[in-house]
């Protein structure tokens, strides 16, 4: 088997006295987009934070292509993994370009102004997210979809191999959700760059349509992992959500769609 992207071994995580994971092991395959799904409070965000090194597990290890991320310095980690939280802060007075430039933080050097490489990375990120024309706008003057793209552009400017996103589609309407997921597909399909996205998603239809692998979690346990057609079955939906459902391929893309029977 190919080396996994993330190899999680015996992960034990406690948050505020509550045990979220106990001896949790899983492997995320090396594919374009990996979707993490599961009910509220199942530990999706916690797992993503462990992958990004934001939460330090009590025990166990997370390896990125074989390298233990717990042993990396914060800068070295930020040059390999970008992370966006579920609700990035509202920033007044910040322009799109200003925000995207913050993505260069792990590459900047003390006392030196932004290098040509920094400027190139920012303009590429703006272009990839179609924000070049809006770059001088204030974040507060953008729509929700544009603002979400600006944050993703910041993560892109970080030029990492892996991008972790926590429910980036939550506050978007359907067309913006689709556009955002298509943007992620474009990012992982870009030639010459082995970029990987791990994304926490709520909407199963969106997740099945755009992800290469789905990882299902319930109550800190791994329920399923694999291509959407294998990961989403009546059995796994029952295990994940306690919901009786049928799973049928959609007529356009033949991706699995969950039809609850209750």
């Amino acid at each position: 088997m190919k080396q996994p992207l993330f190899d999680i071994q015996d992960l034990t995580v406690k948050l505020g006295g509550k045990r979220i994971y106990s001896q949790f092991s899983a492997q995320l395959p090396d594919v374009g987009i990996t979707g993490i799904i599961g009910p509220n409070g199942c530990g999706k965000s916690t797992l993503l934070r462990c992958l990004g090194g934001l939460t330090t597990p009590e025990n166990g290890s997370v390896r990125l292509r074989g390298a233990d991320i717990g042993h990396l310095s914060s800068i070295a980690r930020a040059r390999q993994i970008a992370f966006l939280p579920q609700e990035p802060p509202m920033l007044t007075d910040m322009t799109v370009e200003g925000l995207v430039a913050k993505g260069r933080t792990p590459w900047r050097k003390a006392f030196l102004p932004a290098s040509q490489a920094d400027r190139d990375a920012v303009s590429q990120a703006l272009e990839a997210t179609q924000l070049t024309e809006l770059r001088h706008r204030r974040l507060t003057a953008l729509s929700g979809g544009q603002r979400q793209r600006a944050w993703i552009a910041m993560a892109l400017a970080q030029q990492t191999e892996v991008i972790l996103l926590d429910e980036p589609t939550s506050y978007l309407d359907l067309p913006h959700q689709i556009r955002l997921m298509q943007l992620l597909r474009d990012l992982v399909a870009q030639k010459g760059q082995a970029r990987r996205v791990v994304v926490v998603l709520h909407d199963l239809t969106i997740a099945a349509r755009f992800c290469d692998t789905l990882v299902g979690l319930s109550d800190g346990k791994l329920i399923c992992a694999g291509p959407p057609s294998e990961a989403l079955t009546p059995k796994t939906v029952m295990q994940l959500y306690g919901l009786r459902a049928q799973v049928r391929p959609d007529p356009v893309f033949a991706r699995p769609v969950v039809y609850p029977e209750e």
């Binding site: 914060s74 040059r79 910040m94 913050k102 933080t105 993560a155």
Partner: protein, 313 residues
């Protein structure tokens, strides 16, 4: 870069104006010649020390305010609003009584107030900072007054003037020492600029960008404490300057957060202007500069809270 240049030019003009203005206005040519001949009494003894001190203290407080606001992501959490300045004053008086270094006393007082407010207001939202800060500040002020009342008469008069934030007793040595401290702080800010640029983005985003948060917090809080203590030692407790400087700098120049240097320069502009105003309004009595600053800053605090209310409504 542009906001820094704009505000530096504005500060230069204000300094020149502050040297010309007062009970008697000097012609620009006289100010210029007076600066280079050490014999000009009005400039070298009366106006230059005051102005230099206003610039140094304004820079220190403006920078401290912007650092604190960015770290806590709270426009209200500045040294003057959350009781640091009052804590430093208490430390000052206590140090005088104990006969130890006043700067040490001020630093300890400011640090104590800072950690009390941070510990109390933890995870309680932006307004809690202010409320606890008012409590801590009021306690420190009251304690200062009680201690002061037991001091000898000569000390009381002198300390009362200092406590109202006056630049009347300014001397070049104090201004120079404070300016030296500010230059050290600027050097540290430039050195840690990579991490400081991510202020306002919040803990999660900052960690994701590779910022070592404990180190950054220690740096910022240390700088804020020392800058506040130094400025308060030099000019007394000046209210609302650290609070107003950063938002005003951003509004005027369009600088993006954290806008640390624009905030410092705006602080210097504000305090220089406030001191000139104090000298022009009442040339014969020593009207405290701190009073003028409160007249500018307190209405802004009210305006800020009012606009926050409208945002959430």
């Amino acid at each position: 870069m542009k906001p820094v240049i704009t505000l530096s030019l504005a500060l230069g003009c204000l300094v020149f104006l502050a040297l010309s203005g007062g009970r008697d206005w000097l012609a620009p040519a006289d100010v210029w010649h007076g600066l280079w001949s050490t014999e000009n009494f009005v400039i070298h003894v009366l106006r230059l020390p005051r102005t230099a001190l206003a610039v140094a203290a304004g820079l220190a407080l403006g920078l401290a305010g912007a650092l604190m606001q960015g770290l806590t992501r709270n426009p209200l959490a500045t040294p003057d609003v959350i009781g640091l300045v009052q804590g430093a004053s208490l430390g000052h008086i206590v140090a005088l009584g104990l006969g130890t270094s006043v700067f040490l006393g001020e630093t300890v007082g400011a640090a104590f107030a800072l950690f009390a407010v941070i510990a109390l207001a933890r995870e309680q939202g932006p307004i809690a900072f202010v409320l606890y800060g008012i409590g801590v500040g009021a306690t420190a002020s009251a304690a200062t007054t009680v201690i002061l009342l037991r001091a000898p008469d000569a000390t009381i008069t002198q300390m009362m003037l200092w406590l109202s934030g006056s630049l009347a007793r300014a001397d070049l040595a104090t201004a120079g020492a404070l300016l030296g401290g500010v230059i050290c702080a600027v050097f540290i800010v430039l050195w840690r600029a990579r991490d400081l640029r991510t202020l306002w983005l919040g803990d999660d985003v900052m960690t994701g960008l590779g910022v070592n948060l404990p180190v950054l917090r220690f740096t910022v809080l240390g700088l804020v404490t020392l800058l506040t203590a130094g400025a308060t030692l030099a000019v007394g407790p000046i209210g609302f300057l650290a609070f107003t400087a950063a938002p005003l700098a951003r509004a005027v120049t369009g600088a993006e957060p954290p806008a640390l240097f624009p905030a410092a320069l705006m602080g210097a502009c504000l305090l220089t202007a406030a001191d000139l105003a104090a000298r022009l309004i009442a040339p014969l009595v020593t009207l405290p500069t701190g009073l003028i600053m409160t007249l500018i800053g307190a209405p802004y605090l009210i305006f800020f809270l009012w606009s926050e209310k409208r945002k959430t409504a």
